[in-house]
Amino acid sequence: MKLLVPVKRVIDYNVKVRVKSDNTGVETSNVKMSMNPFDEIAVEEAVRMREAGSADEIIAVSLGVQQCQETIRTALAMGADRGVHVKTDQELQPLAVAKLLKALVEKESPDLVILGKQAIDDDSNQTGQMLAALLDWPQGTFASGIELSDGKAKVIREVDGGLETIEINTPAVISTDLRLNEPRYASLPNIMKAKKKPIDEMSPEDLGVDIGPRLTTLKVEEPPKREAGVMVESVAELVDKLKNEAKVI
């Protein structure tokens, strides 16, 4: 079984993100970047599937600037077998990503695409679903458990108010949620060996995909600053404020 794992290069989750002074986006120069944590979970799951014998090849894919290769290297160090880098300096929106991935799926014919449910930079939570729609494949989103059997995948989904278990046919698209697994640290010897694993490089044009944006970003702003609290004199006053000012009870 062949697995395709898309991995996105995002601002590291430990970095305090700053908005650019002209409000066109966030500051990314001289900022530490790393793999989207949800994608890390996807890579881990893929590696576990291979370790369990249910998968035999893992292809890590990243789309975007040259440095995306570092993100692919991380996936290779964690255990992916080879990488594909679709190189472009243009901004990629979820639909463009889904189209590029569709083209790659047609090229590589994997049995499963496993990817993070969303990226921590734009929080779109769209790519997996769009990809499934474009491919007309079944999808299991927000997976916190995956069980593979012949031609099928049982997916436990984290939904509002509990867990939903579904069974879908493969090939399929599965998006990973936080509790699916705890990703490993790539071992230091594997980091060194990853350098020797191949990464194919191509352009969106090579795949015949139009990546033109469909959305325009008008403005990016910091969240409003938290205002200072007020001290209340009594429980009665607190209840009154919650009821009439905050309107939460």
């Binding site: 290297r73 071992s187 060194m192």
Partner: protein, 389 residues
């Protein structure tokens, strides 16, 4: 021996990022527990094995990473961000325990032992110090009497790091009783389960709880002559000195790492702690302490990087290595002392990590050559070089 930089910049960065993440996510949260329980949890040791930390300095052909000295010090600086007790778990396999075999071992010794040391399957300790032979290591008394194809070892080794966990000891013993100085000493590989070898109980220490030291007692301990590192008797002290050169840079690097951690703690505390209506970091007397710590840590980082780069280029850096060990370990002592001062009462309390680091770093100025021995090495080398020119 010339080592050129083995890794390209991206791979090195990824390696350092991984170590940094492991240290901050896995080790830092356990510092207080390890100090309290005097034990690094088994699963953490297993994770260190999986990560490859035991093999940092062992050549790739023997299953290690084969890092250059420059790469090793960068890695060790990352590891310095947490309690030095964690580093101790694999520190002797990276440094003094394994390097004798790496540098001077016979091909058979390397092939047999290095893969086990690189994977962490076997822990290696370095046994030089004795009750009567500390800084004056050349005067060691442990005897190795030739008996056919074997040597019979007798003596006591003291304060041996990782002795309770060691599978093998790189152990210095006197093979030539007529030669009282360093030339009569040989380095042996002694296996833990050799009859006649016993390890004493853990020493109780000022700091670095979780790292264990103990006495190693040898009573008619029979070791094959083939276990002499390199196969030739009388070379042991030379081997020990080569090992310690590299170890001095390692110690310099760990000092830099700890200093940077302490400075980070200090800056955060100085930004948050308010007195006289403003953060204490806005007072110039506190600022002076912060600036001194930062400056000295930077100086030490630069020294260690320079000496490591020159080591990799094949230069003799005996003097520079001593300078690094001397300056960096004294530096982190001052930084830790200022940290206690900046934290004030909180710096004296066990609830904050500062007092623990203050105790932990005290050892750095003592082991692997005291500051005074480093001063002597530096000055003697200076005088010798002057005489030769």
């Amino acid at each position: 021996m010339v080592n050129f930089m083995a890794l390209d910049p991206e791979t090195l960065q990824q390696l350092l990022d991984t170590v940094r993440r492991f240290v901050r996510e896995r080790l830092v949260p356990l510092e207080a527990q390890v100090s309290e329980e005097d034990e690094v949890p088994g699963e953490i040791i297993e994770e260190m094995r999986e990560l490859g930390l035991f093999g940092l300095s062992i050549p790739e052909e023997y299953g290690g990473l084969g890092l250059s000295m420059f790469e090793e010090v960068l890695t060790v600086q990352e590891l310095g961000w947490t309690s030095p007790a964690f580093r101790s778990v694999f520190g002797t396999n990276v440094g003094i325990g394994s390097q004798g075999i790496v540098i001077d071992g016979t091909p058979e010794q390397k092939t047999y032992w290095l893969p086990k040391l690189a994977s962490g399957e076997t822990i290696a300790s370095f046994a030089l110090t004795e009750p009567e032979a500390g800084s004056d290591a050349g005067s060691l008394r442990t005897s190795a009497r030739r008996d056919g194809d074997n040597y019979v070892l007798n003596g006591t080794k003291r304060y041996i790091t990782n002795a309770p966990h060691a599978g093998i000891f790189t152990l210095m013993a006197r093979t030539n009783p007529d030669e009282p100085g360093a030339r009569g000493v040989s380095a042996f590989i002694v296996e833990r389960d050799t009859p006649g070898l016993s390890v004493g109980k853990h020493d109780r220490k000022m700091g670095q709880q979780g790292a264990h030291t103990a006495d190693v007692v040898l009573e008619d301990c029979v070791v094959p002559a083939g276990n002499i590192i390199g196969g030739t008797a009388g070379q042991g002290f030379k081997t020990a000195m080569k090992v310690l050169d590299r170890g001095r840079l390692h110690m310099g690097a760990i000092s830099v790492g700890i200093a940077e951690r302490l400075i980070d703690e200090c800056v955060r505390y100085a930004s948050e702690r308010q007195q006289f209506g403003k953060p204490i970091g806005e007072f110039q007397l506190v600022q002076a302490m912060l600036a001194d710590s930062r400056t000295e840590a930077y100086a030490a980082r630069t020294m260690v990087a320079d000496a490591a780069t020159r080591f990799d280029a094949g230069e003799n850096i005996a003097t520079e290595a001593a300078c690094c060990k001397y300056y960096a370990t004294e530096m982190v002592g001052r930084v830790a002392d200022r940290a206690v001062q900046i934290f004030g009462g909180a710096g004296y309390m066990a609830e904050y990590p500062i007092e623990r680091f203050y105790r932990d770093v005290r050892l750095l100025r003592i082991y692997e050559g005291t500051s005074q021995i480093q001063q002597i090495v530096i000055a003697r080398n200076m005088m010798r070089d002057a005489a030769q020119n």
